[in-house]
């Protein structure tokens, strides 16, 4: 009973955070960001269902997101012309069903194999659908896309969804439901088998499961939730274009899930939050945020193969053994120079970008025409790098001693 209670406490906290956010930050910008986050969370979680849990690397996941979104916009138009009559709160479900249908069709032939073959098929289908969307103008609206108005539907308990914050509450509820169901899916036999097939399809076949069918089920579920995200996108922006089902969107969701951490349920949520924040906040400060995103992504793949969630989970052993505190100081000693190095590096990149003009960087006036500023940055970067390199062995040592299996205890057992 107690674990169940603990688990539901986590979910209540999640719901509380989702519903409480707009009370803490109520500016228009914040609500816009929250809406984007909500969409991104569902989308990234659905992607993780494929790659993290099912081991299927997809380069065309935006297809289900986009198709769901397009159908959602068309449904909104139908509501406007009173062809159909229902509240717009169910629109994400329409998107989800379309995503599911598309996934059933595409999954019927693409889930035959995982790995490279699957990745290539998904790439091909992604390109195919994106290119066709420019050809079939009557449904996809060409480059301009299609748009609708969400306020024509019958009011839901008096709410007519004129404001973004109303959409946010709707999105929050959908995010909660979708997250809950995606989590529950991981606990079902189908979800468990998806993990097994990811790790060793041959063994799964030997105990009598069709690897293909297991993949197909995950694939369909993933398409369904991606469609829900697409439906929410349609509700939030009231328009959708070809860009939402092409390779750019597919790539972005891969970035989100990977940076957040594959294999951990919470990973994609972290990734979605980080990327949305970068997208909307960092882009205010610098035009180069995509470059930084690229650098961050490559560094993540190189040094944190399990993403941010994996980085946090790495500390589990130390935490359980109560040695987390002993890591704090080494982290600080190495972290400060590392941060300095990154800052100096970013300053130099920005100076290169602002060729021959003065600008402000973190409140400091910098001028790329001034050689002294260059020198300063270079010196700071060099010293920070050296400091980092110097202190890294200490951190490693501290890490090992915090994680090492208690040698004294072991010896006692041996003797």
């Amino acid at each position: 009973m107690k674990p169940l209670l603990q688990k539901s406490a986590v979910w209540f906290a999640y719901l509380g955070v989702l519903l409480g956010l707009p009370l803490l930050f109520d500016s228009i910008l914040a609500i816009t960001i929250f809406n984007q986050m909500a969409i991104a969370i569902i989308f990234a979680l659905s992607y993780n269902m494929l790659l993290g849990q099912g081991g299927m690397l997809s380069f065309g996941h935006a297809v289900y997101f986009g198709l769901g979104g397009f159908m959602a916009v068309h449904t909104l138009v139908m509501i406007e012309y009173e062809t159909v009559y229902f509240s717009i709160i169910y629109i994400p479900l329409i998107g989800g069903l379309i995503g599911l249908l598309a996934a059933i069709f595409i999954g019927s032939f693409s889930t035959h194999k995982a790995g490279t073959v699957f990745a290539m098929i998904s790439l091909g289908i992604g390109e195919l659908v994106a290119a066709s969307s420019l050809i079939f103008v009557s449904f996809f609206g060409g480059e301009a896309g299609v748009n609708a108005d969400r306020t024509y539907g019958p009011p839901f308990f008096g709410v007519e969804f004129f404001q973004d914050v109303e959409i946010y509450y709707l999105a929050a509820v959908w995010v909660f439901i979708a997250t809950l169901f995606m989590y529950l899916f991981t606990q079902t036999p189908a979800g468990r088998m998806a993990n097994a097939v990811r790790d060793n399809p041959e063994r799964a076949e030997f105990i009598g499961y069709s690897a293909r069918r297991v993949r197909f089920i995950s694939f369909c579920a993933s398409g369904f939730f991606a469609g829900i995200a697409g439906g929410l996108f349609a509700l939030n922006y009231e328009f959708i274009t070809e860009e939402n089902l092409n390779a750019v969107t597919s790539g972005r969701v891969l970035l989100m899930a990977y940076i957040g951490g594959l294999g951990y349920f919470i990973g994609p949520i972290i990734g979605a939050v980080i990327l949305t924040l970068m997208n909307s906040l960092l882009s205010n400060y610098t035009e180069l945020w995509m470059l930084y995103l690229g650098i961050m992504f490559v560094l993540t793949v190189l040094f944190l193969p399990r993403g941010f969630a994996g980085f946090i989970m790495m500390h589990r052993t130390a935490w359980i053994r109560g040695k987390l505190r002993s890591l704090l100081l080494p982290y600080l000693i190495t972290g400060v120079p590392a941060l300095l190095f990154a800052t100096a590096g970013v300053a130099m990149i920005e100076m290169l970008h602002h060729e021959g003009e003065a600008f402000h960087f973190l409140g400091l006036p910098l001028d790329s025409a001034n050689l002294l500023h260059w020198l300063l940055c270079a010196v700071v970067a060099t010293f920070a790098y050296l400091g980092c390199k110097r202190t890294l062995p200490q951190l490693q040592e501290a890490w090992e001693s915090a994680n090492a299996i208690d040698e004294a205890g072991e010896e006692r057992e041996r003797s």
């Binding site: 790995g115 490279t116 289908i125 992504f297």
Partner: protein, 316 residues
């Protein structure tokens, strides 16, 4: 009709051979490391940009020599310091890494050279019509492109099958441990092949830059098509990649030059649809319109019905 046919064949040949220059490196790298290098077309783009910058100071020919060298060195360094590291985490991590690399290279190119199209010109010395057929000119530069591509194909084939280095490389692909036991430095061979593969992509970029325009999206335009070729040709097969490259090049070229479409088919069948039919886009589809998606259609079909491609080996 005949002139259209001849010129689309020639143009298809140019595109196909260009694609092969990219595909050959990609397929070599794949057979070695078992990973499809998503960033391969990005090295092609880097080749074009480096050559552009060099050509501003030293002229086109210096660019043709130095740009691929720089790209190859860069590729080798990336293999040594990054890809090798990711290799330990499995194929998916590798694929994801090269994907991130492609993203990063595109952003870096925009950072260093700006988002606009660069005025990268073919050399004046090749700025004359090679021959004139039916009143249409075939530029000498395109002839030069064909010559370079064929030269590289022949050279590559010769090195891989006839030289000692080629034999060691081939052995390292199938039996890396045995080759290592015989005293060869296998990681170094891998790095070298990766470098040569990316350098080939760089050469393709240098000679394609003036014709296909040099802009930050040029990698994306070609990138997925090269993937298609490598898969259709059969992963790891150089001969298959050659056939598939020519096939895709010619297919696209013919499709663009042709002016048939659904209306013709419907006329042939004696059917007619009104303009406001809900599927009107489908009934008015023409072949040039669908030309860009033909390779991907082919890719999906090949993967469903013959996952090993034209010349791929049966999967173990």
């Amino acid at each position: 009709m005949l002139e259209v046919f001849i010129f689309s064949t020639l143009n298809g040949l140019v595109t196909g051979l260009l694609l092969f220059m990219l595909a050959s490196g990609l397929t070599l790298i794949f057979s070695m490391m078992g990973v499809l290098n998503f960033a391969h077309a990005s090295f092609y783009m880097l080749g074009a940009y480096f050559a552009y910058s060099i050509s501003l100071h030293l002229g086109f020919w210096a660019g043709l020599i130095f740009a691929p060298l720089i790209v190859g060195l860069l590729g080798a360094e990336i293999e040594r310091f990054a890809l090798r590291r990711v290799h330990a985490h499995g194929h998916v991590a590798e694929l994801v890494f090269t994907f991130g690399l492609a993203f990063l290279i595109e952003e870096s190119v925009q950072f260093f050279w700006g988002p606009d199209t660069k005025n990268y010109q073919s050399p004046d010395i090749l700025d004359f019509p090679l021959f004139t057929l039916f009143g249409q000119e075939f530029s000498a530069y395109r002839g030069f492109m064909i010559a370079i591509s064929v030269g590289i194909f022949v050279g590559l084939y010769y090195v891989l099958t006839r030289s000692r280095i080629g034999i060691i490389i081939q052995a390292a692909i199938t039996h890396p441990h045995t080759v290592a036991n015989l005293g060869h430095n296998v990681p170094f061979i891998f790095m070298g092949v990766f470098g040569v593969g990316t350098a080939l992509a760089g050469v393709a970029g240098v000679i394609a830059g003036p014709v296909l325009t040099t802009f930050p999206g040029m990698a994306v335009v070609l990138g997925s098509i090269v993937f298609v070729i490598v898969v259709i040709g059969g992963l790891g097969s150089l001969g298959g990649a050659f056939i598939a490259s020519l096939m895709i090049g010619l297919l696209q070229s013919y499709a663009i030059a042709s002016n048939v479409g659904m209306p013709d088919l419907l006329n042939l069948l004696g059917l007619e649809f009104s303009r406001d039919h809900p599927l009107t886009d489908l009934w008015t589809l023409t072949l040039p319109q669908v030309a860009p998606i033909l390779p991907f259609l082919l890719l999906v079909l090949v993967l469903i019905f013959r996952p090993t491609g034209i010349a791929g080996k049966r999967e173990q």
